[in-house]
Symmetry: C2
Subunit: 232 residues, 2 copies
DNA sequence: CGGCTAATTGATGAGAGTCAAGCAGCGTGG
DNA sequence: CCACGCTGCTTGACTCTCATCAATTAGCCG
């Protein structure tokens, strides 16, 4: 079904390495594919559209060009844990085994670049540098997951929200302001909290002057030091 | 300081591949090192002894021969999150980057086999099969961490304990009985609960006839199906 | 058998969840 | 350009699960 969607909506096929990196930072996708001449395709998803499901065969590896994606697991009764948010430049959907172990969906309108998993595997089989990079990317995800386990298992609601704000500030702040792509429910599902608890924590930080709002999703951190102090 | 300890206590140096695997299951260590002739050393730690600290340089990769190890992170005030338990046969301490991102300590008297990280790196640089195996091991850890994030973020206390029992049953049950190497506090720190909550959940499962005790750490699962049902 | 550590159990309380109401921001259409 | 309506966010009142504090009890090793 992903394949079907791809066939009907794919808009842009290019040789990776001939296009400019989407972002000024080291382009992780290019680092893998640049010198092996893999074909990458651009593709778009609308807000709330599923990119792949949990346990679905991992046919493609993705990189966010614009927009934002969440990776998550569900329990049978609908409880959801978001494991990571993927922002422009981030690679997601990379698996060592045959299937995706989290589902992924666009949280706002999103464009991704994608390559076939099989072609990466093939490149890795002959090029040790590619193999090393794939390992390093998985290790980076593991590092994030380990940090997040500490947050989910042992931090208070306020500490979780403080950690979240500092992470998003680091990853998407422009000119000291961040435009959050995700709603309060998504933040709650990422932090193991309810959306109400997230909202209350943000309100409290606002009341203390630690952050400012210009719209619920436009946040300015006014005192990173105090926020770091709240983050245990 | 690890080096110092190694110098004083190392007892056994061997060519990996010439010794019998510690366990009947596929030997992960051997899979990496068997055909490249790496030198492995055996080494022992006493209960509660630290094997390496968080952010310490990752000089060695380890495999549990006998005993059990926990990998954990600490907050400044002492709150602890155990990310994984390592049981006989398990590899731990494998890093793609330069440092350990969790600390590790023996939870009972433990013997490990270890190889220099640098020699693995070297083997991976020339042997794509080794590189692939290292990636797969890190991916396996990531899979466990992703499952554990769901547990920590979204499961109830009883669901967490049920998940834990089923995991340990799968990993260390012999003749339908499991001998837990870890205390209630360790279980709590793994599940994001207090030791009292773990104890109460176990007592409740006992009262319902779902499990039997012969000593606090000797547990028999009498009804895996009901336990699976309690695990969401 | 004695003494220590680990585990159980009970009483109480705090932090986050649930349920519910109202508000604000934003996109749409008149 | 402004009004309307939808969705998402905030806030309040109350509940409940799990943490905390405390006292026994059980298990284990010398």
């Amino acid at each position: 079904m992903l394949t079907q969607t791809l066939n009907t909506q794919a808009i842009n096929t290019q040789i990776v390495g001939k296009i400019a990196p989407a972002h000024p930072v080291a382009d992780q996708f290019g680092a893998i594919t640049g010198h092996v001449g893999l074909v990458a395709t651009e593709f778009s998803y609308r807000k709330d559209e599923e990119i792949y499901g949990e346990d679905e065969p991992a046919e493609y590896v993705y990189q966010v060009v614009t927009g934002a994606v969440s990776s998550y697991k569900l329990l049978s009764d609908g409880r959801r844990q978001i494991g990571a948010f993927h922002l422009p430049g981030d690679v997601f959907g990379l698996e060592s085994g045959p299937a995706h172990r989290l589902a992924a969906e666009a949280i706002i309108d999103t464009t991704v670049r994608l390559v076939k998993r099989a072609s990466l595997e093939k490149a890795a089989a002959t090029d040790v540098q590619v193999a090393r990079k794939l390992w390093a990317m998985t290790a980076g995800e593991l590092r994030h997951a380990e940090d997040h386990m500490l947050l989910l298992g042992r931090k208070t609601a306020m500490e979780r929200v403080a950690t979240f704000l500092l992470e998003m500030d680091r990853r998407l702040a422009v000119a000291g302001m961040m435009a959050l792509p995700m709603c309060r429910r998504d933040i709650g599902d990422y932090l193991g909290l309810t959306l109400e608890t997230v909202s209350r924590a943000l309100s409290q930080l606002h009341a203390q002057g630690i952050l400012g709002f210009s719209g619920a999703r436009q946040i300015v951190l006014r005192n990173r030091q105090r926020l770091q102090h709240l983050d245990a």
